[in-house]
Subunit: 458 residues, 2 copies
């Protein structure tokens, strides 16, 4: 049971105002969890700062009184990142949700951490620009930077880390720093921006981000290719990657997941391993890429191949992929969802996916496998009854085995969800060499261990 701190609510009200700090039970509960299966823990106070200087005051106070602080964005994290394990203060960034500056000519945007990615893309549209990183959930950009999120488009545009040009960070002692600049390239000293991105709130709290943005591609084509086996689908994807074309998305969805989608959306997609594809480029290039893709995918055994350029049909096509988690939730009411997240070298992907599929079947759980195949990153969706010890153990066992498999192939225990609470023991294994260095850095940056304590590092 976390320690309670006398006067904490009153002090937080003093640092913000009467309405922006609360211990209301409902609000505490909203900030006790994320979208993962991890057990909720209540914070003591939730505070809603309006500015970096308020965040700074909050951290100064927290530092002086050694009170844990956990930043909270959209709460869409998947490894318990924003669960206040040791109570203390949850900082909700909903008021810091302004798009501060669009620098069209520089392909940069400056935002507060509470801006969500769809909010950002809605405002960028009128400039013909967009922010590509798409983790599925409508996460905040602060949260996406904190976990080094990625998703469906990273095969083309890259993950979160290289998109972050500059960060305003409040350090544990309340000092406000800037880590980068506006230059597209720099070799100016140690790259601390890269260190903060992915640090999951354990090294500092982000109060502003400058992000790289892109011109909306002239043309996009979406496609769906159905295969007799997972192996054929992954091989097809790898052949596309090797051909060096304008692939912007390539997603694997297994037959079990398609079945859930059909049930949920009353569609009648063939219930077989399927690749969902997207190409970005110019119309002529697209046409040639799609023709070549058709050849390559057919050569790899694709039985049913559809390409769409019409925007409504494209959206419809991607619906299946986007609604997958909901389809499973609806398909198994009352059951909890565990989402595994590993990344393996591309050459190991087929075997890893087949292995995951077998594990799920052997344990007799309901679930699907889906993957950002272009990066070797895949997830299993495992449906289990949280109150049934055996089922919970089964889900944990599958997750553990999938991670161990990935690590045995020199892969990563987390492709994009982060370490949070759930992957700490695997980080220890994956990065045994660098863990002492990470700990050294954590100790220097946060000597009183107030920043999201109990996460990432043992």
């Amino acid at each position: 049971m976390p320690v309670l701190h006398e006067n904490l609510l009153m002090e937080m009200k003093k640092l913000t105002d009467e309405k922006r700090a609360t211990s209301n039970e409902t609000v505490l509960q909203q900030h006790s969890k994320d979208e993962s299966h991890h057990t909720p823990v209540l914070p003591e106070v939730v505070v809603f700062p309006n500015s970096a200087s308020e965040v700074s005051s909050i951290l100064q106070y927290a530092s002086n009184h050694q009170i844990p602080v956990v930043p909270f964005g959209a709460g869409s994290s998947l490894e318990g990142h924003c669960i206040p394990l040791q109570g203390g203060i949850s900082i909700n960034f909903q008021n810091m949700n302004k798009i501060l500056e669009v620098r069209e000519e520089d392909f940069l945007v400056r935002v507060q951490p509470g801006v969500t990615r769809t909010q950002l893309n809605q405002s960028l549209k009128k400039y013909g620009l967009f922010f590509p990183v798409d983790p599925g959930a409508d996460a905040t950009l602060g949260g996406m930077a904190a976990t080094n999120a990625s998703g469906t488009t990273s095969v083309r545009y890259g993950i979160m880390r290289p998109q972050v040009r500059d960060l305003e960070v409040v350090l544990a002692d309340g000092s406000i720093i800037r880590t980068g600049g506006l230059a597209a390239k720099s070799s100016s000293g140690y790259h601390l921006t890269s260190l903060f991105v992915g640090s999951e709130g354990t090294l500092g709290v982000f109060t502003e981000l400058t992000l790289k943005i892109y011109g909306i591609p002239e043309a996009t084509v979406a496609g769906r290719a159905v295969f007799p086996s997972v192996k054929a689908a992954v091989d097809g994807a790898i052949s596309l990657l090797a051909s060096g074309n304008s692939l912007a998305r390539v997603e694997l969805v297994d037959e079990h997941s398609i079945r859930q989608v059909n049930r949920h959306s009353e569609t009648s997609y063939p219930e077989k391993p399927t690749l969902f594809l997207e190409f970005h480029g110019n119309p002529a290039g697209m046409k040639q890429d799609v023709a070549f893709a058709e050849e390559l995918l057919s050569a790899n055994g694709s039985e049913d191949l559809i390409f769409e350029t019409d925007s409504i049909k494209k959206a419809k096509l991607w619906e299946a992929r986007h609604h997958l988690a909901y389809a499973f939730k609806h398909g198994f009411p009352g059951r909890e969802m565990m989402l595994t997240d590993v990344c393996v070298p591309l050459s190991e992907l087929t075997d890893a996916v087949v292995y995951a599929r077998k594990l799920i079947e052997n344990e007799g759980l309901n679930g699907g496998v889906l993957g950002h195949v272009g990066d070797g990153n895949f997830h299993s969706i495992l449906m289990f009854d949280k109150n049934n010890e055996e089922e919970t153990e089964k889900a944990n066992r599958i997750n553990e085995k999938i991670v161990e498999y990935a690590l045995s192939k020199n892969g990563s225990c987390t492709g994009e969800h982060g370490i949070g609470i759930g992957k700490m023991k695997y980080l220890k294994k994956e990065h045994a060499d660098t863990l002492p260095l990470m700990k050294m850095i954590k100790k220097q940056f946060d000597p009183r261990n107030i920043l999201n304590p109990g996460k990432v590092l043992f």
Copy 2:
């Protein structure tokens, strides 16, 4: 005058063998400098390890006896990185030049740090693959990672940092660690790979690198566009970038540089601001991109526009850009060359280049301006007589003013050459906020300050 260490040569011979450690005057001189204008300093011993474990022994010895260690690749750095400022040991990696593994399907290659980029590309060719980062010089990959190099292709493929998937690093105390893995994506803890890349030998010594490689594009087109002014050329480049096409290179060369090229190569290029361009893609896409590029460049005032697909003509076209430094060296025999290197936000590039041009003219030095315009990164080539104090001062003054200008626009004091010796005072200005954190990290990683001491951080 650096301190001499008794028995150092003998000890280094013991750790390697009789032939692989030397204090031969000529060899010491070869390791006293890089390609910059910075004053040479002799190391005490040069050692040529064959393996990480030899490097480890050398570092253990150096650590125990507090002897400075400087890694040496091709010696092509431009800010004095491999000058052994405090004497000690220069570690030459010429024996560690093996390509250890090409993982075709994973788009990865594992190399020793002494492999050069042209050596790598020659071996990758037969796989239809290539490594895109091209800083101009035939640098070693260890050196390129140490300085976070980039060059002409980063507008399309990115800079060095995101290409590095895994590093084997020998730390100051001799321990050998791995920082990454083979997964294309990972959110597993603090990203130490990104911290080591660009650390210029001050945090550890690289003994192996795993790098991302790419499929050779199906088609490339090279182009040259001549403009009435630098402003028109840069505006033309920005319009290309905004159109979201398959631009892989876009280089600005000013009229003074073209003049040197014409003199050096007996060519007759129009002596006006010129953009050199390259597109990578498929033939149909290329064609459409080039047609659109012609429209955009003409709209921005391009007077003379040539596109080539023939490989000999393409090579000829790029010669002018590639031979620029030599053209200047030949044009002004006996004079030293200073290369400035700043990066500004794209929207500030025109003014910054015009400003640099004016500075050179006002000071009355010979020189040119050239730039990786796609990234806002540009260089001035300044020719000066090292023995003439006034000329040296002029060159230094121009460099200083260009850097100050870039910093005033939230740019970087170094786009790609690194801090080394020459930019330490500007790093202090550019990253005043994070300098204390950098120092903290340096102190933790290298408590006895033996790793490339006197560089990067004051």
